[in-house]
């Protein structure tokens, strides 16, 4: 195993060569260079192209060896057959790391070509990602090797969630989805064929990366099973890891085999390892996002007793059902003090029970009263606040109150709101202020449960 776990040069390069950069907008190398220019990458940027003196106002070089500068990262976007030659040049020129976006290797049977690539990467001890991958993105360093234009695939803001994907399609859809979320991205790594650097290397790097608070991954198979298990023992003690595995059923495994030629073990054996070591298992892309969101912002809960505030009775009932179905969480019992204070401060039509149904005409005051009492109630561990903005009482003062309240909350708190444009406006308000917002009772409750399970694991594992 090469010493590839330090991927710093790839994620925080001070100089990038784009080999295959092109003036032709249909070429992958054009889009990649364009994205660096658009993102305002502040390092030194070198297009490499035999047939051009200048691309997008930057001096172009015929070969990477002609550049009189240390190159931290070379992005390689040339036809597969030329990749070994280019990689050899990179090695000779002392390039520190490479990302090979080109496809046309083992995934279409060109095994020999891929083996050549690995030999060169090893010879120069040059961490090489891919081939056949989207590569890396980091909104802090503004590295961005994705050959997808920003109008098609929005780029997320800076945050604490890192995302690792074998599949480019799953990777790019999730990256696009994250751009619509409030939690933001730390690192994105799509590693394709994993010829040299593989999932274990990447996870080890992210485990030790201080900017990564939460790791989210999509995998179809893991090659180095024993190394993975060794890593799994350590990684979830440091930070939460959310995993979605493709190929959990016979039908999915068959599809995965056609896709990445993963010789996946049974889902049962994967699941056993994930559960044993406190991974959060997602069953769908949407669940990955739901879990990432709560882990990105919420503190450790003391337990699973949920306090619910709602301005719509029926949605409170559905949330209570979801809690009842969770098998772990409970609708908490209100203390006598809480009940007494609610009775004193709320209008007579408010039912003094949990869920606290503060009614459709509730404004920020009633939300604030209910949330404050739940915060002070020792029988409540986490808050689920249902704010329906179709109601007569709810407007942006309610959203602002929830945000303000959250800033001082020591208990995990999430918001459930459901609706179209007016609701979406308030959802964006709250999420951009770091408050996790969900759009179905089921999703909200699953997220609360995942948070509790993770910290239970961490606290009860020596």
């Amino acid at each position: 195993m090469p010493n590839v776990s330090n991927l710093d040069m790839m994620m925080n390069p001070r100089s990038v060569a784009i080999i295959g950069a092109s003036k032709n907008p249909d070429k992958v190398g054009h889009v990649i260079l364009q994205n660096y220019v658009n993102a305002g990458y502040s390092g030194r940027l070198y297009p490499v192209n035999k047939d051009a003196d200048e691309i997008m106002g930057l001096k172009a070089y015929a070969r990477v060896g002609d550049i009189k500068d240390r190159i931290d990262l070379a992005v390689i976007a040339v036809p597969a057959k030329f990749v070994p030659g280019v990689l050899e040049e990179c090695g000779k020129a002392g390039v520190k790391s490479t990302v090979v976006v080109s496809g046309g290797f083992a995934e279409i049977g060109q095994v020999k070509l891929q083996e050549d690539l690995v030999k060169i990467a090893k010879k120069y001890n040059m961490p090489t990602l891919g081939p056949n991958c989207l590569g890396v993105m980091d909104p802090r360093s503004r590295v961005d090797t994705l050959f997808l234009p920003t109008f098609k695939l929005s780029r997320p803001q800076i945050g604490g969630v890192s995302f690792v994907a074998q599949s480019g399609a799953v990777g790019s859809t999730i990256l696009d989805l994250i751009s619509g979320e409030g939690f933001g991205l730390s690192k994105f790594i799509s590693y394709g064929n994993a010829a040299h650097i593989d999932e274990v290397d990447i996870l080890e790097y992210l485990m030790n990366d201080d900017e990564t608070k939460v790791i989210v991954m999509y995998i179809e198979g893991i090659r180095r099973g024993r190394d993975f298990v060794e890593l799994a023992k350590k990684i979830t003690k440091k930070k939460p890891v959310i995993v979605l595995k493709g190929g959990r059923t016979a039908q999915g495994m068959q599809a995965a085999h056609s896709h990445t030629a993963s010789l996946a073990g049974s889902w049962e054996s994967y699941e056993a390892v994930f559960r044993q070591f406190g991974f959060t298992i997602a069953n769908d892309i949407s669940e990955l996002l739901h879990y990432a969101k709560i882990f990105a912002s919420e503190p450790e809960p003391r337990g699973g007793r949920i306090g619910i505030v709602t301005n719509g009775g029926g949605v409170g009932v559905l949330a209570a059902d979801a809690i009842g179905n969770s098998g772990l969480l409970k609708v908490g019992s209100l203390s006598d003090v809480t009940k007494k204070e609610l009775r004193r401060k709320m209008p007579p039509l408010v039912n003094i029970s949990n869920p606290i149904d503060i009614a459709g005409d509730a404004g920020e005051d009633r939300f604030n009263t209910a949330m404050s009492l739940l915060a002070d109630d020792d029988g409540i561990d986490m808050l689920l606040v249902i704010a329906l903005f179709q109601t007569p009482g709810a407007d942006s003062t309610v959203a602002a109150r929830l945000i303000h309240y959250k800033e001082n909350s020591e208990k995990p708190m999430i918001v459930l709101t459901i609706g179209a444009d007016y609701t979406r406006m308030h959802k964006i308000m709250m999420e951009s202020a770091g408050l996790p917002v969900y759009d179905s009772p089921d999703a909200a409750v699953k997220a609360l449960k995942a948070l509790l399970m993770y910290y239970d694991y961490r606290n009860n594992t020596p």
Copy 2:
């Protein structure tokens, strides 16, 4: 039981009196009148208010009896204690139906007041919805008794899905969500305390309403159990009914009891009836929408063998997993003809298997070829087309091709697409053309399964 099942006067009134209409924008009666005016209601509109001669340019009447016209629907939005008096006046004036939006009856212990209301409704055989309800909406007739302004709660376009909700909160959130969907609304009925007209009356009306193709309902309890079972035997033979019940768990039942004082039977007994009579059971608000969408547009499938086209391998794997987990559907086997034609027409890198992974550079031609071959393959019953718009090949020509293809498709076909703004643009394109679009593999596959289960029931029940 009154003869209330014909709610035509309420849903298609040619004249509406709004009792409690007001110039004061904080009053419910103001918002209701405003919504009628904004919606362009083409019938005759009469504000009733003792203290005004004119409201919003319309002549106002001191009492309903002063109006020299037949009133098909009176919307009553006055304080609870005045409702019996007003209702009596309506009865005397020959009003054909009423919606009582006012709250303050049985839900806060005012049982006697509610009994008075029922007596009057029965005396005049005057179908009365509510009290404590949002009332009705029909985008065809432009009747709209909701006291929620359109900037908070968007109103859906005309379509074939009717929605019935006991809870105003669940009703309004779903109505708002439907406004963002392509399938459109036939009737919306939020019936609140169900003092006179109840869920069984409403379902019977919708069963016989030709404009209603699909019924979606949220309930916490059903009062007339035997009548409901009699109706259940008939209704799903005519059209699909999707049901979400609040209070399925002990914790949810307790919340439901506080909410609508529903003395709900056990979920097991409800579930048994729903299953026996071919209802589609939703477990969450989001599932209601997912199911409504497919039933609104898709024909009867011949079986459960799914053909998948994807321009992203990993998402195809996740769809195959969801099918594997469904317990009913299968990833279909491609015929020899299909395989041969795919091999002939597709580039060499395309894997000839199901899912058909047409790769990230696929444009409309490859989508069209794959869909056409699946349509002609007798081993395929339904199509799941995964179109990821982050890919280099996909743009609006692909969305247009899917729409065009759908217009001639005899097999059920749905689309899965996942992403942010650029994706959402294409989703709206496709949905407004009547193509159901999903944003997670799990949701898409659950919808296909529900479609198959419903027609299996209908075909195998005498």
